[in-house]
Each structure stands twice: as C-alpha cells, then as structure tokens.
C-alpha cells in the first residue's frame, strides 16, 4: 500500500510540474463545452437541450481522462521508467493503484470544473442533490476512463499506437450510446452500446435530471459502471506484464 502512495505522489508531482498538461486537462474541456453551447444554441426551441448538455460534458471528461492517462502511461514505457519501477521492486498492483490514485484527483478536478461550467453556461436549475448525483456519475465515468486508459496502454508501444483506439472506442460511444440519438437506432447496435461505459453513464444522467428521479431506478446502471472499474482494473493487472 505504501508503494501505491509513493507512485501516486509521483504522478501528482508530474501533473503539477507539467503545466501544459495540467492546463490542457482542465482548460480543454472548458473550451469544448463552450463550443457545445454555441452548437446547441442553434437547435430549434422544441429540442430539449438539457438532455444533451450533461451527457456531452460527461463524454468530454471520459475522452480526455482516457487519452491523457493512456499517453502518460505509454510515456513511462517508452522512457524505460515503467520497466525500471518493476525491476526496482514496485509491484504492478502498486503501479496500477498508484496511477489510479494519481489520476483520481485529476479526474475529480475535471468532473468539478466541467459540471460547474455546464450548469453556469446552460443556466441549469438543478438542486444540490441532483448536482451531487451528476458529479458522482461524471466522476465515476472518469475513473472508468482512467482504468480504460491503463488497460489500453498495455497494447501500445508508443504514443502513436493509442490513436487507432480512438475510432474503435470513442467514436462508437458518440454514435451508439444515445449521446446524440436516443431512439431509432437498429436493435443490434444496442449490443455494442451496452459494451460501452458511456451508455450507462448517459442512462443515469438522463434519469437524474428527471424531476421524478428515484435513485433505485439507476442502481443497476450505477452497479455496471462500478463493475467496469473492477473489470478494467483486473484486465489491466493481467495485461501489464513485468516480464516479456
């Protein structure tokens, strides 16, 4: 456990020292949400834009957390520090745990700023309980994204290898999880949609913003999202090899 905190501390110090990275992680989602506002403002008045605002914000956090975590972990591999950590006595469980803990704070920061901006920019009148619930979902999705980033990074030898995973994982999330089109997609696309964590996050978000929301309606989706964290953690532990 001590080793996990040592690695988490190092990840945090790296994030703190890398001002450009930190700025990109926090400022980029803010800018993208502003662009989203410009786009949604062009929609006809009968479209309920509230249905899209928070789901899109969640997607932005999902995408950025995934890609930034994957890239940093690949950098560890190409620089040789990952191998040195393992030979030096850090276990892969400590490494994954340390990374998760380190990014946990970044994911929390991203979830907070994205939610605050969305509520302010789109003038959303949600009560405190709803806001806290929305934060929980975005934050949980960010953790899933960090796990996904760690898992996917084990298949890449350099940063460039991460890009093929964007159309493979992120684009289907945009088109098939109900982010844009809630109904009318072919039934078979539901199978793909149900494999993607964003599907469950959007389900929960759309339930939370309903006035008649009851937490029991989203227990299963919350459970699945939480399940993603553990499944991806197990997969990342399995695929992160300390000997080739």
């Amino acid at each position: 456990m001590n080793h996990t905190f040592i690695i988490a501390k190092r990840v945090l110090s790296q994030l703190k020292n890398d001002k450009r990275f930190l700025a990109l992680s926090v400022i980029a989602p803010l800018i993208i949400i502003y662009f989203l506002k410009l786009l949604l403002d062009t929609f006809p008045s009968y479209v309920n834009v509230k249905n899209y605002t928070i789901p899109f914000s969640a997607f932005i956090v999902h995408f950025l957390s995934f890609i930034l975590c994957a890239i940093l972990l690949i950098q560890e591999r190409t620089r040789g520090t990952l191998e040195r950590m393992m030979i030096g006595g850090f276990s892969k469980t400590s490494i994954i745990g340390g990374y998760t803990l380190g990014y946990f704070s970044l994911a929390t920061l991203q979830a907070i700023v994205v939610l605050i901006e969305s509520i302010w920019l789109f003038k959303l009148n949600y009560d405190t309980k709803t806001i806290l619930m929305l934060f929980m979902v975005i934050w949980l999705l960010a953790i899933v994204s960090v796990m996904l980033g760690i898992f996917i990074s084990t298949f890449a030898k350099h940063e460039g290898h991460i890009f093929p995973f964007i159309p493979l994982i992120m684009l289907p999330s945009i088109f098939l999880t109900g982010l844009i089109q809630e109904k009318g997609l072919p039934i078979w696309t539901e199978i793909i949609s149900k494999c993607l964590p964003l599907h469950y996050a959007i389900n929960i978000i759309r339930e939370i913003i309903k006035p008649e929301y009851n937490i029991t309606d989203t227990c299963i989706d919350f459970g699945i999202l939480l399940g993603y964290v553990f499944v991806l953690l197990a997969l990342a532990s399995f695929t992160l090899k300390d000997s080739k």
């Binding site: 110090s13 020292n17 950590m85 030096g88 300390d242 000997s243």
Partner: protein, 286 residues
Amino acid sequence: MNAIEIVKLSKYYGKIRALNNMSLDVAEGTIYGIVGPNGSGKTTLIKALVGSLRPDTGFAKVLELDPLKDKWKLRKQIGYMPQSPALYDDLSARDNILFFGKAHNIPDLKKKTEEILLFAELTSRASDAVGTFSGGMKKRVSLCCALIHNPKIIFLDEPTAAVDPHLKIQSWSLFRKLAQSGVTIFISTHLMDEALLCNKITILRNGEILAVDTPQNILQLGKTRLKVYVNNEEKISTIASTPNNLAEELKKFGLDKNISSITLHTDNIEDIILSIIHEKVKEEKT
C-alpha cells in the same frame, strides 16, 4: 560460489536469434564484462537475468534464485541500470534517487541519497530537474538509482557510454571498490578498452558466446607485427603476442643500410576482440 549461473539460455524475437544456447557462470565478487557489438544480445541477456524477459529455453539462477519465479526476493538484492537513463525528467536528481530508493524501504534514505549524490558529483545540481541535464549527467543519476539500496549484484547496461573520461575513471574505481566488498558487477559494454578492467569477459556476437576468459588470457591471443621497410618495400613479420623474440626477428634483416623504417604493432584488446569476431564471420561464410 557463483553469483550467476546460466544454462543453455536461448531467446528468439520472431526469427531473430537474440541468445543462442548460452551457458556461463559468474563468480561472486567479480567484475564480469559482456563485450560485443551492438545487437549481439548483451541487453537481452541482462534483461533475462533481472527477470524482465522470459527466455524460450534454458534457465538462469541469480544468487541461487530464479529471476522469474523468485523475482520479488531477487529484485531486493539486485541493482539495475538500463541503457537509456530511464529517469523522470520533471523530477530533480535527488527526487529520482529518492523515488527509486523508496521501493526498497531503506533506512536513512535521505542521508544515503546525499552521500551518493556527493559521490557522483551531483550535489550542486541535485535540486535541478533531470530534464535539464546532459546525457552523461543523466547516466550518473541513473547509476545512483541502481546503487542506492546496496545491492549484492549490479547489472549495468553500457553504464559508461557517453560519459566523460573523468567520471568513467571514477565509475570504474567505484566498481572495483564494490567488487572488493563482495558485490558482483555484471557489466555490458561495446567499449573494448573497458574489457581490460573486468576480471573476466565474455565476447558475444549474434547471441552466441565467442570467447570466455580473463582479459589477460585474451591479450595472449594477440599478435605483434613487425614492419620493416627495405628500399621502400614493406616486409611484415608476425611474431607472438608478446614480442620476446623480437631480436631474433630483427636479425633476419641484419644491419641493412637500405632499411628506412621499422615499426612494431602489438594487438590491443580491441584488435583481438575484433579479430575473434571477424574470424567467426569468416567461418560462417565458409
């Protein structure tokens, strides 16, 4: 007692043979050099010994432990300095050493870090980010990270490549001191002159052992060439590794007034190692 025992170790990367049926023993407290050109399998061998690489056949024992099965026991007792610096550029030299040192729960880690920084002459730059360091300085920090936990065996992959001569001399003096205190140093190098500084060397090419011996015995394989120019015509005479019979050779030419120059070239370790490699290449071609 042997610190390292390697038996019929082979590793293939697809069709490329990185290690071929390699067997060798390394005695405790020695400086053991793995010498060979780039791509000869030096790094692959070190990675197999530190448990970072799974061999296809054969096995290795380091401190009587299996590098793969007993990796956690073993990794506490070994130091590893990879070929690339493998450091965090955003962290200072001190923080890099502290970070890798923390993996071993060392008592007085801060004090030890300051001592090792002093040895590597890095104290004045200890608080600077490693990203601002030259290649040689990064190597020094990397060496400090490998030594911080007082390992029983140190695996050094080309530790003195791109290091200035002053630090190179200092590093070798430290390696000798460590070996005297019982630490085994397993060092890979493509710098042939460094082979002379080892207690024993193995010459590698294409994952195969070409020779295993002490540098002194390897030097005996060398030749001395006596070149005598008579009427501007070069006459070469090859004599034994040490020119004991030089007088006899020179007698052949007498006191000829047409002798314009006499040169004597004794093979150095680099010439000998390269000729061993070239002979192997010739043998393979035929």
